[in-house]
């Protein structure tokens, strides 16, 4: 087992115990693996499937269906730029274009040094402070071109 450490396995046991069927734990378990390893390559998915006692394709189906899961590594800072209605009414196109210009990558790409990746996402449920961007766990609101650029500069230092 290369992706699931003994400590993680203990956590797996605890989570799986919350459900009458083991398969129900697949999403929380995949979150744990992705948090620890940055992505969910086929081997990691196979290990989760084996642990749960379900066919690997059932795990693959879940990984490909949900947008937060990724088979390929993302940047150390993953920038999620909201593109939905309220943010669009507030000018998120400018935020999106600024991110691409400053980082020199397009949406869905990772910078060569692995520091940043960027993705346009649907409504992040923070519409009163749009345009918004989520970086890791943190929401950044009321963005414009200048604030976006400053935020990226700030992230570069971390």
């Amino acid at each position: 087992m290369s992706y699931v450490s003994p400590e993680m396995r203990a956590k797996f046991d605890e989570i799986t115990g919350r459900y009458p069927r083991r398969q129900a734990a697949v999403i929380p378990l995949l979150h744990l693996v992705q948090e620890a390893h940055g992505s969910l390559p086929a081997e990691a998915q196979r290990e989760v499937a084996e642990y749960l006692g379900i066919p690997a394709v059932k795990v693959q189906e879940v990984v490909s269906f949900y947008s937060m899961f990724t088979e390929k590594p993302r940047g150390r800072h993953h920038l999620m730029v909201c593109r939905t209605l309220s943010c669009a009414l507030g000018g998120c196109q400018e935020v999106s274009a600024t991110v691409e210009r400053v980082l020199g990558i397009r949406h869905g790409q990772v910078t060569a040094d692995g520091m940043f990746s960027v993705e346009e996402v649907e409504c992040l449920a923070a519409c009163d402070m749009g345009p918004v961007m989520q970086v890791g766990d943190t929401l950044h609101g009321h963005l414009d071109a200048g604030k976006t650029e400053a935020l990226i500069e700030e992230l570069k230092k971390r």
């Binding site: 919350r18 459900y19 009458p20 069927r21 398969q23 129900a24 734990a25 697949v26 999403i27 929380p28 995949l30 979150h31 749960l52 379900i54 059932k58 189906e61 879940v62 269906f65 949900y66 947008s67 937060m68 899961f69 999620m80 593109r83 939905t84 209605l85 309220s86 669009a88 009414l89 507030g90 000018g91 196109q93 400018e94 274009a97 996402v121 649907e122 409504c123 992040l124 449920a125 923070a126 519409c127 009163d128 402070m129 749009g130 989520q134 890791g136 766990d137 929401l139």
Partner: protein, 438 residues
Amino acid sequence: METPRYLTRNFGNPGALAHEGYVKSGGYQALKKALGMKPADIIEEVKKGNLRGRGGAGFAAGVKWGFLPKDDGGPRYLAVNADEGEPGTFKDRALLEQDPHQLIEGIAITCFANGVHAAYVYVRGEFHKGRRTLEEALRQAYQAGVLGKKVMGSDFSLDVHLHPGAGAYICGEETALLESLEGKKGFPRLKPPFPAVKGLFGRPTIINNVETLSCVPHLISMGAEAWAALGCEKNGGTKLYCLSGQVRKPGLYELPHSTTLRQLVFEHGGGPRPGRSIKAVIPGGSSSPVLTEKEMDVRMDFDSLGKAGSMLGSAATMAIDDSTSMVRLLQNVSRFYAHESCGQCTPCREGTHWMHKIIDRIAEGRGQADDLDRLLDICDNMAGKTICVLADAAVFPVQSFLRKFRAEFEEYIRKGRKMSLVGWTEEMPEAPTAAGIH
């Protein structure tokens, strides 16, 4: 007009995030009261209080609970829908982050009333802060004996588990949520059987929204009559309105159900930005049919907005001013539904993509003369023809935009100009005057 706050009374009071602080603010008194009532009486009280489901459909919560079959000794579940994703909606995130114990209290009362001993809170994957906050509140609730083997010293036992989503709008649909909770991709289920009969893990299940459950302690503590009186007929209590878009003061407003759309946007939201005027409003999430400025005197309750040809939905009100092109706006909305269609039913999977492609080409200046009729034809082949209502949700904005702002779309097609991609709020360019510009 200052409205008393119930659901948001602890907002801005971080002390209430802790069990002790919540109790100090009067918390868990409603649960204590409920534990002394007969379960059937609690359900009756919620029916009398006219508590409507705040996830979008507005179905009477007490009636929904009444659908559970008689106890057969096997497990039954409560699934809490915290998968907030309808564009423009941000109330459940606020409730999770700012008053998690209020939700836990609502869950506990609901479970006691319905003989449920296990609840799963399905929290949207992107809500890291909300999840952490609720996790900590759950830990403290167990420690304080609010959850676990003997809820507040009674014989009632209850476990509440937190379950993260992973990014899929469709999982806000109740049966897709159940599939996701079972560890599968979020494909909605055919109904019947309804979840009340055969839901999570094949067992009777209630599915309620975060805001609905957060209302329950207030309804129980003040009594059905007082709660009902806060709202208007058949719409009890106060309501959280999510105001965003092109207004001066976007934000979350807790107001009586009798508030009109005009009051919300102009009095509470401060009206349009300087030099602008309100052109249209989407009252209840991106799927609710758009209303024009002239239609804003409608009351923001489930029935009045329904009669006005729209819906309250998740009460996500988005104001649109005169700088915005309705064509570009619909381009954005249709892209959302094309992206979020789960792909299970052909009319939705194909229809949302074709609608988006056609609206896209109109917005890019390549529209064809019969495109608008073609769009309406696609709408007729989607609505009511799929397992869940995502297809209907995708159709409503297209139909209403074309009905109320058809001239704008026709102008785009007639002029055949490619608009700038950035610059959402750009004015329609003048008709070409010199040769060589299209």
